[in-house]
């Protein structure tokens, strides 16, 4: 049990490693082996390791353990060992200290450990930092310590009388270490330091950290340039996207870090100046204006817009953003005083020589903003710039630096009063679109109802309040009505090209009394023109716009429309949407009736359309590389160009859906036709678990053998079921043992998505695959893959026929609904020669036969006549009441299924109404 250890001849090792006795034993080991030698190294390492363990245990369980540590001044043993500079021991020592500082909970113990400069002497000890292991433990030791910093503990680290702050000084030496883990730790530690609120420390820190901050911004410059170079040259393939992702992550991490530093008052001012003068102005703004000097290091506009928007999405420091945005929105090129020059391996910031041709262009105001708008002009050929331009506009809305006044001074529509609600974290972007939409709708139907009413005849009466609110804008509109759309539509402001700067100032001065801030925002009409370019573009033949760009454009337009109350803008936009929608429809319409798979394409794309793809975490970087035009790139369709007929049609469908939605939102109409729903004789579709009355229905007994795991069983199961179909659904039921004639639904699938194949080897077998409908969350996928074995060949044939016809009819009905939603005529080449058989049954949703409560209203003759009017309506299973069925049978003519005894319908209908 007791084991002798090394030279500590008289020491006996107690059994329990978590006890005071064990610590006493270890203390003995340390005192016995003050001088580290080859022989006792291992024992000492183990002792140091065990000491950390016991102390933590003692901290939580037995106060006398730490007392012993204090009484025996064990910390001084540690220091003596450290000074001997043996790598193995120092690794363990740093690890032990790290564990102690990280885990000790009693603050009195922690304070003791920090007291009397022991920690400072450890921090300043010259460890062999070239040794990776030492470095790793050293830096994490510093990091652990930095998390203990607060206004009370800072005095352990910072001595203001002697001007000593080893933690800061040592950490600053490591900021440029070649390992990224170290650099990241340094960032963390510095952030923890500057966040401590202590005046004298702050003064010291600012004096010492300046150079670091400057280097930090330069590293952002270097990263940006490196990424830009990569983006210029790389093909859009998976491997490159992954490499790019790594670079983007680094860059965004850095921006986040800078953003966090800017939140710290102590360094904000200094850092803000560096960011502006070293990054934002000489790199980003320069790249968004015409080149002035051939030596300037510039980014592609796409990269510059991307970095710009990332910066806006992350950083919320008011002064920085305000300075940057006002330059961007109003200034001319003269604001650029410096530029980056490549100097062999490095970049240097140099003043721009005034000899460089500034020329006429240089005097032009708003040159950077104009550059943004230009991005949209060429969107039909390449939408990358437009995409990132949109991203930038979107980021300007999302920015949290409270620069709303600045933006509205630039005729940039923002919500002032509700700035709180426009601040939405990026991870909630999915809800954003819906929220915007809801607001847009409420706007268009309430206080701004006039415009809507005019177009939709909803008929909201204008109240007096409306009159007051719309008083001024209306006057303005009247005067401007005949203006060229390219001129700002708002005579309160002048043409931005001429007096942007002064306009900004005067507008900013006048802001509080200005009506435009209280009722609605003005909007630079050129912005709308730019956004319209994208909508226009998707209507053009051979355009190269990707669906994601249009989606983002719609999002931005909605955002703007929430605040802009300008009838002309609405009218123009509505007109444009309608025009483009028609244009797209003309293309799509050709294929609705002819293409067999149109139904699937439409449904898939509708599901895709309902997904919100605007998530800059993912698309932000994928779109930087040149647009891919092939599925081989591994990109999903909405992020690339279409390849081939099918993809082109699918893209057109998505375009159509977006434009249609935008148009409806503009007019305040809801969409009642999409998503397409075909009703099952006015009753709800059957669901699994429902109990249905199958009295007098066509039932086919079969054995279901799943081929793949599914909701009803796993491969190899043999399930006795009955196959039923209604107008739209394939249903597998199991008889309800408690009530004759009733059955419980075990599986439901849509006939339209059912494929049937015979079996060449066995004539009693059908192979059935049913696919589930695509949805926002899930793509089209098989929900049932099974072998159905019937009693005999004839029954198998009957099933096959019924399913085949059912599929045809169901698809016809669905296509019909799509046609009427789109407004194109439905021409069925194989005009229904036969209607599906009647398979009447009755549903009681979710109820066991014994406790039937739910009733379905079926007596309304309005339903029957409405349904019978539809061409496909002849196939309605007329179970609910015999007169309904006969009514529907009448007009739809021949081919109605097997007649049925009306008495069954009425008599079996009785128990439902109990």
């Amino acid at each position: 049990m007791f084991r002798k250890l090394g030279s500590s001849g008289s020491l006996w090792k107690p059994k329990n490693p978590h006890s005071l006795e064990y610590l006493k034993y270890l203390q003995g080991v340390l005192t016995k082996n003050e001088k580290v030698t080859e022989n006792n190294k291992k024992i000492l390492v183990e002792a140091l390791r065990a000491i950390a363990e016991i102390l933590i245990w003692g901290d939580q369980n037995d106060a006398s353990v730490f007392d012993f540590f204090l009484e025996r001044q064990m910390l001084t043993h540690f220091l003596k060992i450290m000074e001997q500079g043996i790598t193995q021991l120092n690794v363990q020592l740093l690890q032990t200290l790290n564990i102690l500082f990280e885990n000790i909970r009693h603050e009195t113990s922690l304070y003791f450990l920090l007291s009397n400069n022991h920690v400072n002497s450890i921090i300043s000890h010259k460890f062999d930092l070239q040794n990776d292991e030492i470095m790793a433990y050293y830096i994490s030791f510093l990091k652990t310590l930095s998390f203990k910093l607060n206004p009370a503990t800072i005095h352990f680290f910072f001595n203001e009388t002697t001007e000593e702050f080893p933690l800061l000084v040592e950490v600053l030496k490591l900021y440029n270490w070649n390992e990224s883990m170290v650099r990241i730790a340094v960032r963390n530690i510095l952030l923890n330091i500057v966040r401590v609120d202590d005046d004298s420390m702050t003064i010291f820190v600012i004096r010492h950290i300046k150079e670091y901050l400057s280097e930090l911004i330069d590293s952002l410059v270097a990263l940006s340039v490196e990424m830009d170079t990569f983006v210029r040259s790389a093909e859009n393939v998976l491997a490159n996207r992954e490499r790019l992702r790594g670079k983007v992550d680094d860059l965004i991490d850095l921006i986040h870090y800078i953003g966090e530093l800017l939140e710290v008052e102590a360094v904000a001012e200094t850092l803000s100046v560096f960011v502006t003068t070293r990054y934002l102005s000489p790199l980003l703004l320069s790249s968004l204006s015409p080149r002035r000097d051939n030596h300037s290091l510039l980014l592609t506009p796409v990269s510059a817009l991307f970095f710009f928007s990332q910066f806006l999405l992350v950083v919320r420091h008011h002064e920085t953003i305000h300075t940057f945005l006002s330059s961007f929105l109003f200034d001319n090129q003269k604001t650029l005083m410096t530029h980056w020059i490549r100097h062999e391996q490095n970049f240097c910031l140099e003043p721009i020589t005034m000899a460089s041709p500034v020329g006429e262009l240089g005097d032009q105001n708003c040159v950077f903003f104009d550059n943004l708008l230009e991005a949209f002009d060429t969107c039909q050929l390449d939408d990358s710039r437009a995409f990132y331009g949109l991203m930038l506009i979107y980021s300007m809305f999302q920015n949290k630096a409270d620069v709303g006044e600045l933006l509205s001074a630039a005729n940039f529509p923002v919500l002032h009063r509700e700035s709180g609600s426009t601040v939405i974290p990026s991870n909630e972007q999915s809800s954003l679109a819906q929220q915007n939409l809801a607001r847009l709708r409420s706007l268009s139907t309430s206080s701004q109802g006039k415009r809507t009413r005019a177009m939709t005849e909803i008929g909201v009466e204008a109240t007096e309040e409306d009159e007051i609110f719309h008083d001024v804008p209306e006057e303005r509109n009247l005067e401007d009505l005949i203006d060229d759309p390219f001129v700002a539509d708002n005579n309160a402001y002048q043409d931005p090209d001429e007096t942007g700067r002064s306009r900004f100032q005067s507008a900013a001065d006048e802001l509080p009394p200005s009506e435009s801030t209280t009722t609605s925002s003005a909007c630079d009409s050129r912005l709308f023109d730019a956004l319209s370019c994208i909508i226009q573009g998707v209507g053009a033949d051979e355009n190269k716009i990707r669906p994601i760009t249009l989606e983002l454009a719609c999002l931005v337009i909605r955002q703007i429309l929430m605040t802009v109350d300008d009838e002309k803008v609405h009218t123009n936009l509505t007109k444009l949407c309608s025009e483009i929608r028609q244009k797209l429809l003309a293309t799509i319409g050709q294929y609705v009736n002819g293409e067999n798979l149109f139904l699937e394409w439409f449904e898939d794309e509708y599901a895709e359309f309902e997904v919100n793809h605007v998530n800059f975490d993912i698309i932000g970087y994928e779109m930087l590389l040149p647009p891919a035009a092939t599925p081989l790139s591994g990109l999903v369709l909405h992020k690339r160009l279409a390849s081939g007929f099918e993809e082109r049609l699918r893209t057109q469908i998505v375009f159509y859906l977006h434009i249609r939605k935008l148009e409806r939102d503009l007019t305040g109409e809801g969409d009642t036709e999409l998503p397409v729903r075909v009703f099952n004789s006015g009753q709800e579709p059957v669901a699994v678990g429902d109990c249905i009355n199958l009295h007098n229905s066509d039932l086919l007994s079969c054995t279901v053998v799943p081929q793949q795991p599914c909701s009803i069983g796993k491969p190899g199961d043999r399930l006795a079921r009955f196959l039923v179909t209604d107008r739209l659904q394939l249903i597998l039921v199991e008889p309800d043992s408690r009530k004759a004639g009733w059955a419980i639904v075990r599986f439901v699938g849509l006939l339209q998505d059912t494929t049937i194949n015979g079996d060449s080897a066995d004539s009693k077998v059908l192979h059935v695959v049913v696919e589930g409908q695509p949805s926002r969350l899930k793509k089209r996928h098989p929900v049932l893959t099974a072998k159905l074995i019937f009693d005999d060949h004839i029954r198998c044939m009957a099933a096959k026929q019924r399913l085949t016809k059912g599929r045809q009819t169901a698809r016809g009905l669905k296509l019909q609904a799509i046609c009427s939603a789109l407004g194109v005529p439905r021409i069925d080449p194989s005009r229904m020669s036969a209607s599906p058989r009647m398979n009447p049954f009755r549903i009681v949703k979710g109820c066991a036969p014994g406790s039937v409560r739910k009733t379905v209203s079926t007596t309304s003759s309005g339903t029957s006549s409405g349904a019978s009017g539809a061409p496909g309506g002849g196939g309605r299973p007329g179970f609910y009441s015999s007169n309904l069925r006969s009514a529907s049978r009448g007009p739809s003519g021949a081919g109605i299924g097997i007649p049925e005894d009306p008495s069954h319908g009425t008599s079996s209908g009785a128990p439902r109404r109990n």
Binding site: S10, L11, W12, P14, L20, E21, K24, Q27, G28, T31, K32, A63, S64, D67, L70, E71, R72, Q73, T76, E107, T108, Y111, F112, L114, S115, N116, N117, P151, A152, T153, H155, F156, N159
Partner: protein, 229 residues
């Protein structure tokens, strides 16, 4: 290096363990007093204490009856006030120190005592023992605070009073004996008692029983220093 006598680890140790806190203005000589007490000799002039320091020593109150004193030395500087505050809770006695050659340090004693009284812990914080100590009594020439003033202050606040010199060693041991005895008296009378979760006062008997199971004593290097008495 470590020469204070703590006691034979594995013998029947001590009857009680008292934890005391030493407070007072910066530079009044708290650390010197403690070092003289634990090391038995005058200490070099030292830097101001950064944060807290810890000392321990065994004393014999009467023959065969030993108590262990654990002593928290605290920084007098204002900037460490929030740190030192957390050490009152687990103390049973408070030594409030002033420098007889520094009037201001005497005037601040009242605040120190007040802060201590507010932060003491244990089952009956009101019963914890305070003692006033004037240091540097060898420097009679520079005296700014009369003995009587200290005595009066102590009386008024119902605490004991002593003047010491960490240069000559006068009254150093007595000062600690005095407070230990007073604590002992209150323990004997039941006014103070050890409770779980309070480190101010602990019995030593229980510990010795469990520790006795281990091996006999072993020489622990520099650990056999001065005798307690």
């Amino acid at each position: 290096m470590e020469s204070n006598f703590i006691g034979d680890d594995y013998g029947p140790l001590f009857h009680y363990q008292y934890r005391l806190i030493v407070i007072g203005d910066s530079t009044v000589g708290k650390s010197s007093l403690l070092r003289y007490f634990t090391e038995g000799k005058m200490a070099e002039i030292s830097d101001p204490t950064v944060g807290v320091d810890f000392y321990a020593r065994m004393i014999e109150l009467r023959p065969g009856y030993r108590v262990k004193l654990q002593l928290w030395d605290t920084a007098g500087q204002e900037k460490f006030r929030s740190i030192t505050k957390s050490y009152y809770r687990n103390s049973v006695g408070v030594l409030a120190i002033y420098d007889i050659t520094n009037r201001e340090s005497f005037e601040h004693v009242e605040n120190w005592v007040k802060e201590a009284a507010q932060n003491l812990g244990g089952p009956s914080p009101g019963k914890c023992v305070f003692q006033l100590v004037g240091t540097k009594c060898d420097m009679e020439a520079q005296r700014q605070v009369n003995y009587e003033e200290g005595e009066y202050f102590a009386k008024y606040h119902k605490m004991k009073f002593i003047e010491t010199s960490s240069r000559s060693g006068d009254n150093v041991n007595e000062a600690f004996h005095m407070i230990a005895q007073e604590i002992q008296n209150r323990v004997d009378s039941g006014e103070l008692r050890p409770v779980d979760g309070w480190e101010g006062l602990k019995t030593g008997i229980m510990r010795s029983q469990s520790v006795c199971l281990s091996e006999g004593s072993f020489p622990t290097g520099d650990n056999q220093g001065a005798c307690g008495c």
